[in-house]
Symmetry: C2
Subunit: 440 residues, 2 copies
């Protein structure tokens, strides 16, 4: 049996095993990937994984792999390393790429400028299509990565139009670029937020979108493959906020226990302090509870129904706002609709609640001589609490966006806490109305 040469590793096997490997195992097994496929493997890693791997490699290897990256990907890797190591990584790049990378690092990471690749295929409007194709072939050989579209620029680098490869191939070769190019272009501004950029991609089903400045000078392109990552990240952030915590910004096991606790404890404490108001509210009704202990039995049922209906409504509206399905100015239409929904849902739960109490009373005599009035109190309170929960849950995201906050902060637990206190007030008010002279 020969054992000198370690067995080569297939990239997709290593890709699957990667998260479970230690730092040293990663370096060791990476070096075993056959040369022909190592490029593909390295490029398939996330920017965080690339950064971690680069820092574990020697200076010579580090340079080779760093130079493989397109400028926008190199920026992500460099920004993923500790601040004191960034200068040395920048130094590994060739002069012109370094300048591109430094220019890109000036943009906010979550803006179009921070997502774009400054290298794109360009042609001039007066070229013939045959000239344009051989000009593109030359650019491809040098450094332009993606040639789905070629952008037509005037001598001042202002964007005039775009031609797809298909258009170049289809038309007669002696036509001019200006004759076949599209002028009705979708563009995005350098400082457009990445969530807005992803919306533009979703609406127009494009492979790449040019980034322009205020004077329509072309700065780079954002490609759709980067947007898939953005959409996933933004959705993760929203889901985590809806669940009542700060966004993690990293995979579960990559976040240390302490950092994770900090992200979770903050909101939990805020909610806890808010929820203390329920103890205060309950304190106000202490005499009523002492007189009619039966009232206390339904407190969890009442407040959780308000919380659940509010959580549904807020989640629905947060997502619709994020997708652009509804806008700030739709708040009144939404409010009317949600009040109707709340009354309908509350009436349904209220009827079920009344039946439950009367059946239990019939079977076990659980609720004393005034059970019918207790049932009525619970039923009416449910209508009120669910309507209120639905309405406030649906309006809170609008309010937050109006005030300039992220609507997703109107998390399900936040709304539930808000509704709990008012739910108690609604319940005990209904009780004192209906039970006055009997139980109270």
């Amino acid at each position: 049996m020969e054992t000198q040469d370690p067995e080569p590793i297939f990239p997709h096997e290593l890709r699957d095993a990667w998260p479970a490997l230690s730092r040293d195992e990663r370096v060791e097994s990476f070096r075993l990937v056959p040369h022909a496929t190592a490029d593909d493997f390295f490029l398939s890693l996330s920017a965080q994984e690339q950064a971690a791997l680069l820092l574990s490699l020697g200076p010579g290897e580090r340079r080779t792999w760093l130079r493989l990256l397109a400028p926008d990907d190199a920026v992500d890797v460099i920004q993923g390393t500790p601040a004191d190591l960034r200068a040395s990584l920048l130094h590994e790049l060739d002069e012109s790429t370094r300048r591109e990378v430094q220019a890109l690092m000036a943009y906010a990471e979550d803006h179009a400028g921070g997502l774009m690749n400054p290298r794109f295929a360009r042609v001039r409007p007066d070229m013939t299509l045959d000239e344009a194709i051989s000009y593109l072939r030359r650019q491809t050989r040098e450094k332009v990565e993606t040639v789905y579209y070629a952008y037509v620029l005037d001598p001042q680098q202002q964007l005039l139009g775009v031609v797809s490869l298909r258009q170049l191939f289809q038309a007669a070769p002696d036509k001019r670029v200006a004759d076949v190019m599209s002028r009705d272009l979708i563009t995005v501004a350098e400082d457009m937020d990445q969530e807005a950029v992803s919306r533009v991609f979703a609406e127009h089903a494009l492979m790449a979108i040019p980034v322009v400045d205020a004077q329509r000078h072309m700065k780079g392109i954002v490609t759709v493959d980067d947007i898939v990552q953005v959409v996933r990240e933004e959705a993760t952030e929203d889901i985590q906020k809806v669940g009542g915590m700060e966004a993690l910004d990293a995979p579960y096991f990559d976040v240390g226990l302490l950092a994770m606790l900090k992200k979770r404890a903050g909101w939990l404490l805020v909610l806890f302090v808010g929820e203390m108001l329920t103890a205060t509210a309950m304190g106000h009704f202490e005499d009523e509870i002492a007189q009619a202990v039966v009232l206390a039995l339904f407190v969890p049922l009442i407040i959780s129904s308000g919380g659940n209906s509010g959580s549904q409504a807020t989640t629905l509206i947060i997502r619709s706002l994020a997708l652009g399905e509804i806008r700030l100015r739709d708040w009144w239409r939404v409010a009317r609709r949600e009040v109707l929904a709340g009354v309908a849902l509350g009436t349904t739960l209220g009827l079920v609640g009344i039946v439950r109490i009367l059946v239990w009373q019939g079977l076990f005599h659980s609720y004393g001589e005034h059970a019918v009035r207790v049932a009525l109190t619970v039923g009416l309170s449910l209508v009120g609490v669910v309507t209120w929960g639905t309405l406030s849950g649906s309006m809170l995201p609008f309010l937050l966006r109006r005030l300039g906050f992220d609507p997703a902060s109107a998390s399900a637990p936040f709304v539930a806490t808000l509704v709990d206190v008012s739910g108690l007030v609604i319940y005990f008010s209904a009780a004192s109305l209906i039970l006055k002279g009997t139980l109270l």
Copy 2:
């Protein structure tokens, strides 16, 4: 002033106004879009909007616009129309496209086969690069929409490799396709779920992925622009489920009030019935409450803290499972970590709770002579309830996936309801332990 000709409409203006227009306004304004940009406008509409528009147009127009669509997009439009109209729409297509569309309609909508375009650029391994480029030019002129990659097939249509345009352009023109093609291909199976397909795109940053059957016959390509839509839809479903409702599958205002109520009432009723157990649990402690009404005051605080911590944990795990960051077999690692997190978070809340009760007692004498013991009861219960909430919230998604359900069904309200009942038991058990002989 001339008024005969109506003013032309710019596509992006119409795109913005579209959702607010009535059916007739849409048809009317669509006909005013200048011919040169009408194609782009039509293609920028969603499949649902295209279907609605087509049904409002006359037969001649309908045929023109339907034939503009790639087969996979035509499928989406046809599947978006009422079943009795589908045959007549299919009839508008030319013979060969109709066959392609019918083959695609046999796939489930949310599988790779349902997303793919059956038209792709193909070359043979023994062609020279120059031959391959002119062969591609010919295919582009006919019907192949996207030429980011050309797929190398043997005579039996089995997939051998792939060449990017860049590779074709870069190498010497007399080399053979087989010399430059990549053989280490990422492919997906026809019946792979779209969420898994989107994960493959996110991991490999590709523009298109070939779909193959079990014998590696190439069936079509999935392009990344379709995946952006998939990722958004899947995230929306998950967020809506996390918020405690069935996924809507359509924009907020497109769902009728009744349909919306049905999607929301189901879960709300299930939760309500579950929450009724709290009334039963409270009933068991009725004597304790009657003896020490002060205990009732903290019931909402205790159970909501359990619910909030459970909601955080479940949301975190649901999303990490969906992104593939953690897998089923990681459950034990997660459980250990979440118990630690739960104890830490519970202790924090417990200490704050104790301080709150003692301060109020000092200021207002709110809680009687045994306030210190009450504070201790609340504090200890919080440690127990938060730890239990965190643990069960994090384990429930694993359990659901193990049983074959969608982990996202472990919604925040569902976990909160589950934790409410056990929270009451923990609280009153702690109370009888600590207050026995004093208050109880």
